[in-house]
């Protein structure tokens, strides 16, 4: 008896493991996912390995200011003679952290608000009017306002951007859940005695997972760009903290003499956004069983 149960348990686990393995294999075979994954992976490793360089990103060396890219300073130096390669690596830590936090925060809250308003029609008008009010102001303006109110700190940038991107995510999840809730399998779930909570999280949310995931990767990319914009406007992480936006903002006035100051962090931002978008597309293709992607 105990043996039989153990065997069944083991076979159940084996099946679940095999299913996970199948998803993994599909991901490994998905070209754009792998390209995006490698880009993001390289950036994460680069960001983590920043301290190994042994150079202080804020160490000034006035004698070496405005050095163009060369062997000692791969990305050149800025107006204070700080090594831009080191600063860009440390900037990756900050920018990726902000991007990730904003994507996760706005994803979690947006998804919760979205399914709640799709499931409980009475909450819907209230929640959606609040979202409309937030959406009425352009995201970047809202973030500037919130950022100014919370003070120039990393966590206030994260909160400001998350709040700014929640309405869009909530709208997307709500739209998807509204379509799903009219399908017969939701009625079938109610017929088998499922509670509203169970329908929300077991049926509505997984069916919205594709759009939600893609939206989150976009938010990740937007957040990195928006952080750059906020830093550029002076509401981001306060200088001398090296974020990509900060570096670009500081290099702006010397753009004509020292093009390299803005070029490398700008390129890093584009690359991060590209990598995240490719990753998101690939995840959606593989996780949605209806889209049969084989290559």
């Amino acid at each position: 008896m105990a043996d039989a149960t153990a065997t069944i348990l083991a076979s159940g686990e084996a099946i679940a493991a095999r299913r996970r393995f199948r998803v993994l294999r599909k991901l490994l075979n998905h070209r754009s996912f792998m390209v995006g994954f490698i880009i993001v992976l390289v950036m994460v490793i680069a960001a983590m390995s920043a301290p190994l360089n042994g150079v202080d990103p804020n160490r000034m060396a006035i004698r070496f200011r405005f050095r163009p890219p060369q062997e000692a300073n791969w990305f050149g130096t800025d107006q204070f003679g700080r090594d831009l390669f080191t600063r860009t690596l440390y900037g990756a830590q900050l920018s990726l952290w902000i991007g990730l936090s904003v994507a996760v925060l706005s994803g979690v809250f947006g998804a919760a608000i979205g399914v709640l308003s799709a499931q409980f029609r009475r909450l819907d008008s209230l929640l959606m009017r609040v979202m409309d009010a937030l959406m009425a102001a352009p995201a970047i303006l809202l973030a500037i306002g919130l950022g100014a109110a919370l003070g120039p700190q990393t966590h206030s940038v994260i909160i400001a951007l998350a709040v700014a991107y929640i309405p869009r995510t909530a709208r997307i999840v709500r739209a998807s859940a509204l379509v799903t809730r009219e399908l017969e399998f939701i009625e079938a779930a109610r017929v088998s005695g499922a509670s509203p909570m169970r329908i929300m999280f077991k049926h509505l949310l997984p069916n919205a997972a594709g759009p939600l995931l893609v939206q989150s990767t976009f938010v990740f990319a937007y957040a990195i760009l928006a952080e750059a914009a906020l830093s550029f406007l002076g509401i981001g992480p306060p200088p001398p903290a090296p974020s990509w936006g900060n570096i670009i903002a500081e290099g702006r006035q010397f753009a004509m003499q020292a093009w390299w100051i803005m070029l490398f962090p700008g390129f890093a931002i584009s690359l991060a956004a590209l990598g995240m978008n490719l990753l998101g597309d690939g995840l959606r293709d593989v996780l949605d069983p209806r889209l049969k992607v084989e290559s």
């Binding site: 348990l9 076979s11 079938a188 088998s192 499922a194 169970r198 077991k202």
Partner: protein
């Protein structure tokens, strides 16, 4: 064989009225319908689209949206309890646990992002609290019970890889997972090919005897009724117009509407250019029709039919019909014979 009349019915719907709010005010979809289902009995409900048959079925499980629905009269007695006044939590335990339902469209009745095992297991986990591994094992057994070949492999697949007939089998497997006492099948074969229809009906009938379930089969297909049901209820414009054992209904329909439905079935032994059809269509549910609701379409309409709403009259053993002239004629004929 025990006579079904002696047992208390397992489900008794008494005087049920369902009204929906529309832009033009309240519309009556089901008008004082009463029905009963005995243990292990197969009841068929027939009617055109819009006759209120599906609404009646959904009301039994209380699945209408509360803000736009009124049930001003009626009781639905099941196991000594009135389902219309039961607390939500207890109602949830009944749904899927004791009364299960399958729907018309197997294509949209399964969640596309969950595997078959997950969806069969959901009901088991909800009502019997079994763990995932046990649920998966039970799911395989259930797939075998509904005769899906290669069940152990199919159980881990997603719905899009199954055909329509297979999906309907999966729906049936989900419905019977917790051994319900009553299965409501709302047009279970309408969306399927004719050969698959026959297989699904066979399967339902076998499961009914094996598991001892009662079944309410809702359809607009007289052929399906003839094959499956023991007793038939004919609905028209939200009302019951005739109730009868299935054989009697086909031999001697009482209500002119039933007669019209039966005449519209193509027959193998009679050559006709054009099938007889009932003229007109089912009335707008918001329209007020004085007297008998079928009178505008009835070929045998009399003056009284247009003035007075006819009651449901007894018309023989286990038979009732809502057509006083025909019931009177039938009774007179029966007396003439005896």
């Amino acid at each position: 064989m025990a006579s079904p009349e002696l047992k208390a019915p397992m489900l008794e719907v008494d005087d049920l009225t369902v009204r929906f709010r529309t832009d033009d005010g309240w519309m009556t979809a089901v008008d004082r319908v009463s029905l009963s289902v005995g243990d292990g009995e197969a009841l068929g409900i027939v009617g055109e689209s819009g006759s209120g048959k599906s609404v009646t079925a959904l009301s039994i499980l209380r699945l209408h949206a509360a803000p736009t629905t009124r049930m001003p009269t009626g009781r639905i007695l099941y196991g000594g309890r009135d389902l219309l006044t039961l607390p939500t939590r207890q109602m949830r335990a009944i749904r899927g646990g004791e009364i299960a339902m399958i729907f018309q469209d197997p294509m949209s009745s399964l969640n596309p992002v969950l595997t078959i095992a997950d969806q069969i297991g959901e009901s088991l986990r909800l009502h019997q609290g079994v763990n995932q591994a046990t649920a998966r094992k039970r799911a395989i057994e259930l797939l075998e019970l509904v005769r899906i070949p290669d069940a152990a492999r199919r159980v881990d697949e997603y719905p899009h890889r199954l055909s329509g007939g297979m999906r309907q089998r999966v729906m049936i497997a989900i419905a019977i997972a917790c051994r319900p006492k009553l299965l409501i099948a709302d047009e279970p074969t309408t969306a399927l090919d004719v050969t698959i229809q026959a297989q699904i009906l066979d399967l339902l009938r076998d499961l009914q005897t094996e598991l001892g379930m009662s079944v309410i089969l809702i359809t607009h297909d007289m052929g399906v009724i003839a094959e499956f049901a023991r007793r038939v209820m004919v609905m028209y414009a939200g009302r019951v117009v005739e109730t009868s054992p299935v054989g009697e209904l086909f031999r001697r329909p009482v209500h002119p509407y039933t007669e019209g439905l039966l005449e519209a079935i193509p027959k193998l032994d009679v050559d006709v250019r054009r099938l007889p059809a009932i003229p007109g269509s089912i009335p707008d549910p918001t329209a007020v029709i004085p007297g008998c609701r079928y009178s505008p379409r009835c070929p045998q309409v009399q003056d009284t039919c247009r003035r007075e709403a006819p009651p449901l009259l007894p018309a023989g053993p286990e038979r009732e019909a809502r057509c006083p002239p025909r019931v009177a004629a039938m009774m007179a004929a029966a007396e003439g014979v005896s």
